[in-house]
């Protein structure tokens, strides 16, 4: 069974690779390469997989999941300039893809010993653009 919890945070970012020229950056990232940054209301959905516990009837305690997501994602990222304030985005370009991988990396340890395992991280940059990450194996 899959269970999903959604959280939201608002942050600014710049998508720009310092190894590329200004022209190349603009060609590839478009307005996302504006060095002054811009922002999004990010929506993050974290999905766990597991079986309902025979005693509690729950796959995972959703209150606990909310606490984990608040501590690992919302608190450090909400109302921040990702490139300047949230490592590793001082050296990793904060594309939606890299955000999904970083959120996976931050939360996966909480599910290492069960009862539920981390199944997917979905990050919406806007309503019309989102990525799904299923871990290195997925």
């Amino acid at each position: 069974m899959l269970i999903t919890r959604r959280v939201e945070f608002s942050a600014s970012h710049v998508c720009l690779n310092p190894q590329l020229s200004e022209e190349q950056n603009r060609a590839f990232y478009g307005p996302d390469a504006n060095p002054h940054g811009h922002g999004h209301n990010y929506v993050v959905e974290v999905t766990l997989a597991g079986r309902p516990d025979p005693v509690t009837g729950m796959v995972f305690d959703l209150k606990r999941l909310k606490e984990i997501l608040n501590a690992e994602v919302v608190e450090p990222m909400d109302h921040r300039f990702l490139n300047q304030e949230v490592p590793p985005f001082d050296r990793v370009i904060p594309t939606t893809e890299n955000l999904a991988r970083e959120i996976w990396r931050r939360v996966e340890a909480h599910f290492a010993v069960g009862p539920a395992r981390l199944h997917a991280v979905r990050v919406y940059e806007t309503e019309d653009l989102y990525v799904d990450y299923f871990g290195e194996a997925g």
Binding site: F28, Y130, V131
Partner: protein, 139 residues
Amino acid sequence: MIRLTRRFRFSASHRLHTDRLSENQNRELYGKCNNPHGHGHDYTLEVSLRGPVDPVSGRVADVAALDKLVREQVLAAFDHKNLNREIPALVPTAENLALEIRSRLQRGWAADFPGGWPKLDRIRIAETRRNAFEITNEE
């Protein structure tokens, strides 16, 4: 491997009707959707692709290239059209639209995404908020 999904919208009219059935059978099968004057929807189309994240760009795909492909191959042909008249040889159910959209994207895919990655992964189309039709690239 990561999957990136982009959402598009188009508005079109259609009538569900097949010449292989009688007028009565069509009315019975398709109900309101068989209205001879047709009717329309604001369709939502999701196109997903998957691939490795490029270490230089941090992206799985050039989203602008995907937008261009979908605009040229799908939206130009579907948006503000009468699907029965303008998309030939197709009962314009959402199922058939999904298959048609997949084959149109597959045709242009290799030219727009040379090098094998990213791959087309999934098409999801919704006629209204209350229904959705989804196919993967392998089906």
